[in-house]
C-alpha cells in the first residue's frame, strides 16, 4: 500500500500507543518515544518494520508514541493507521500475510 496522506490511530492512554503514518520517499523512517525504550525499543522497531512489510508499505514516515502498549496493540494501531491513510475501513483482508 502507498501512504497518500497523514493518518493516525490509537491514543495516549496507558497501555496504548499513538501511531502516525505520513507520506515519505526514503523507505520506512521511524521515530519512537516510549517509557520502556531501553527494554523494548528494538522490539518496537522490529514490529513496525515487519508490519509495514506485511502490508506492502515501502515508504512512510512513522511516529510511534508508546504508552507501554503490548505488541498486539502496536500491530493493531499500525494497521489501522495504514488502512486509514488509504481510506479503507471495510473488507480488510484479515490475517493476510501472517504466519
Amino acid at each position: 500500500m502507498i501512504i497518500n496522506k497523514t493518518s493516525m490511530a490509537g491514543t495516549l492512554e496507558s497501555s496504548d500507543v499513538l501511531v502516525t503514518v505520513a507520506p515519505g520517499n526514503q523507505g520506512i523512517q521511524l521515530q519512537v518515544t516510549s517509557p520502556v525504550i531501553q527494554q523494548f525499543g528494538r522490539a518496537i522497531h522490529r514490529t513496525v518494520l515487519d508490519t509495514m512489510a506485511r502490508l506492502g508499505v515501502e515508504h512512510a514516515r512513522v511516529t510511534v508514541a508508546d504508552q507501554g502498549a503490548l505488541d498486539c496493540t502496536l500491530k493493531a494501531r499500525l494497521e489501522c493507521a495504514v488502512y486509514r491513510a488509504n481510506g479503507v475501513t471495510e473488507n480488510i483482508p484479515w490475517g493476510k500475510g501472517e504466519q
Partner: protein, 301 residues
Amino acid sequence: MNIAERKNRLRRTMMFLSAQRPNLIKDPYLFAPDSLIFDLEDAVAENQKDAARFSLYHAIKNLDYHGIERLVRINALDTPHWAEDVRVSVASGIDGIRIAKCETAQDVRVIEQAVISAEQEFSREPGSVLLMAALESPLAVLNAYEISKASPRMFGIALSGGDFRRCLRTTGAGGGVDMFTARGLMVLSARAAGIQCFDTVYTKLDDLEGFEKETRLIKDMGFDGKSIVNARQIKIVHDIFAPSKAEIAEAERVVMAIRENAEKGIGIFQLDGKMLDIAFMEGAERTIALAKASGLYKGGL
C-alpha cells in the same frame, strides 16, 4: 469442548469490555468472569469503529484468555458496521457473537448467513461460531421464542435494560417491576427453546446492595446469569449462584440414588420422604456442575 458443550457452558457472568481500550482487554481473565464480551457497539465511538476491529483482531489472535469464553457484541443491523464486525470476529477466532438490538428471527438468520460466509472465507470449522441475541425493545421480547429458535447456533438471549426501559418509558425507580413481564417472557421463551437466558447490566456501580438484590431476583426467576459492566460485580453473582452445602449434598444423594435405582430397574422411588424419578436428574446434575465451578465440590461425581 464440542459444540453442544460449548452452547451449554456455565455463563453466570458475561463481562463487557470496550474492544477499543487496550488497558481493558489485555488481562481481564484476572477477574475470572465466565464470559468476556468484547464490545464493538455502544462502548466504541462512531469514528473509532475501524480501530476497535483491529484492536479486537490482534488481541484475540495473540492474547491468552485462559479458557474464558470470548464473545463479541457487534453493531446492529441498522448500522453500516455489522458486516465487517462479523468478518473480523470470525477471522480472529472468537467463540460467539452477541447480536445487538435483535428484533426478529430474520435478524438472527441475516447474521447467521454472514457468519457462514465468514467461516468459509477464513477457514473456520463450519458451525463453530455461536450466536446469542440481545433483546432491547418490546417487539424483540414479544418475539423472544422465535428468536431463540432461529438458528441451531443460538445459545442464549439477553435482556438489554437501558434501551428496553427507554422504549417502555420507565426509569427503573420501581425496583424492577417495569421489567417483570419481559423477564418472565424471556425465561419462558429461552427454556421452551432449550437455550440460556441472561439478565441486563446493572449500571449503578456503587450500589452493590441494589445489585445483589437484583441478582437474587433474576436467579430466582430462572435466569442463567447476568451481563456485567464492572469486575466488582463478578464475585457477588458467583456467590449468589453458588449452591448451598445442603443443596450440594442433596443433589449428590439424588444423582447417586437415581443411578443406583436405575441399575436395579426401578424408575420411581422415595428418598427422605420425597418422590424421585429421572426428571430430577438434570437439576441435580446442574447443581453439581455449579458447585464444581464455584470450587465447592470435591466429590466423585
